[in-house]
Subunit: 385 residues, 2 copies
Amino acid sequence: MDGDRIEEATLANSPADEISHLALDIGGSLIKMVYFSTGREEEQQQQQPIGKTQKDGRLLNGRISFLKFETSKINECLDFISSKQLRCSRGVQHSGFPASDKNIIKATGGGAFKFADLFKEKLNINLDKVEEMSSLVSGANFLLKAVPSEAFTYVNGQRNYVQIDHNDLYPYLLVNIGSGVSMIKVDGDGKFERVSGTSVGGGTFWGLGKLLTKCKSFDDLLEMSHQGNNRVIDMLVGDIYGGVDYLKIGLSSTAIASSFGKAISENKELEEYKPEDVARSLLRMISNNIGQIAYLNALRFGLKRIFFGGFFIRGHAYTMDTISVAVDFWSKGEAKAMFLRHEGFLGALGAFMNYQLVKEFPNSNPLVSDLTDNGIIDCCVQVSS
Amino acid sequence: MDGDRIEEATLANSPADEISHLALDIGGSLIKMVYFSTGREEEQQQQQPIGKTQKDGRLLNGRISFLKFETSKINECLDFISSKQLRCSRGVQHSGFPASDKNIIKATGGGAFKFADLFKEKLNINLDKVEEMSSLVSGANFLLKAVPSEAFTYVNGQRNYVQIDHNDLYPYLLVNIGSGVSMIKVDGDGKFERVSGTSVGGGTFWGLGKLLTKCKSFDDLLEMSHQGNNRVIDMLVGDIYGGVDYLKIGLSSTAIASSFGKAISENKELEEYKPEDVARSLLRMISNNIGQIAYLNALRFGLKRIFFGGFFIRGHAYTMDTISVAVDFWSKGEAKAMFLRHEGFLGALGAFMNYQLVKEFPNSNPLVSDLTDNGIIDCCVQVSS
């Protein structure tokens, strides 16, 4: 497991946080939450977060934090929101935020439709729906333009952070790997088209993985895959060709000819395979497939850069490595796979951006500053007067 | 199961066939065999198969038959060849065939390398290796040009046979779905390039299917998938969006958002799912994925026609339907998926063509005539003098 993964759960035990704005991305498998808080009250006094006034509003210091829940355990999410005693849900006008935010939470993903009644009934909160693709794009654009060291390539086990030139960002392909996968051609702020996708995504890895390995959780499955060896179950070119390469078409003997193909001829039941090996084959099959379809779509529109986001990746070294190798292999080195530190929160961040707190983020304007180690973004938002 | 599937096993009980030429395609999962025979001896006398003489050789009536074995049971294949007492392997010069054929069998696929020593040792037969992609292309071109009613589209449960204009056949995309998948751009006889492929193929369906359902065979798994309902395990758009469509991006509520995604949230073990439903989800996932990648490659090279071959398809209605729908969906109706009656035998036929028995097949030359119901091709081959 790559050490640089965002630990999104760390803030759950900070009840003193004053959360003013919260946004949700309620997907098929996971609920992603992004919230802005002004920190603990004692810190607030030192930092004097509420301060400077600009001609079009006030600046407010704080931080953007990240949290996730399983969609099937949505009550945990409701309890969290309730326990945080969101100022907006209590109807108290806080920190100069306009009263129009009262009892409203920006939300995206299918669950914004599916669970709207539940939020109203349990918390008296209205979900203000933000379109899903639009949210993903807003979130990605925000991260790429406002957060330093957000994007990186992953080659030979190394993260190489990429300096994004704001004037040379577009167009790019955004591949969001959630339960399913969406591929979006992004041409600018609010300018995008969902050009492709695949149903073979994170939900497939987790769902098939659960059936095959009895894993307890997504992270458990990822951890298992880290320990496994896919060659036990995958049919390699060398297995078919008797150990030799198939050089004529550029396939080495160790290339995978058929994912899970070795299971055909071996007289082994599922229980006789190590779950780690099964998890590894599954992860490699899905990562490679997504990398290939992404590349073919990038090629179609002449896009040199592909950013991969979504909760499937989880900063997992082997996943990123497989995707990177797939893009490199199929593009013959022409295209580059890039990853994002806040990969899983694009949609939630995009819904959050819909509050219009942070209006712009030019190079010269330090509205958003560095990251903390656990991925929290220290920032200063601009509140309309 | 579609009723028009080639029953390739029917000839196994005709020991009186006089097999003169036999070719093999030894893949990772299956051995495909094609052989030319002059029929039973009593029939021969009536038909007088050996007859007409042309200036560059003699014409010989007979039939091309098709047979398959599992690669893991290669001894069954060796026994069959041995039992058929191939004239060529007995060193008897038969029917005017040149003696150079003695003890040589044309073979393609990785197994032509892997099992070369085994054939030599057990049967004293040398495998004359024919390159795999080249064989697939030769086989497909032969079928498309020489065999009437070979190609068809599959729409709404209906086969529609396609009349191939020999002058307007190229270029096309050939997608061969064996254990793995090869995608080949074909520009003419012997003019081709393997442009893509995927490891998610027939071996994945069979291998994963075996682990998940304990099916006894590939056909058993296909039959189960025919009875199943993929919506039990796949996460649909409607499952995420609370029953509504996601019209903005053109996805109906019944579209699959995440293959196997529903298995995440349900507290069900593998054993609690019906194997039929699992098989159906698996088949749909793989067929759809192949259709999508094939379309993206056809688009890349401006190819309007995609021919799908390989043993994965097996004339299975649901497989063809899913592939057809995938190509239609992703191409917005621009590209057409087409299938071949002898889908599984492209490589073996191509290796067979390498004997140079049938030298050309112009429209006007009835070298190859109609099919019998079980896919046997009645034909007349030209033997060099």
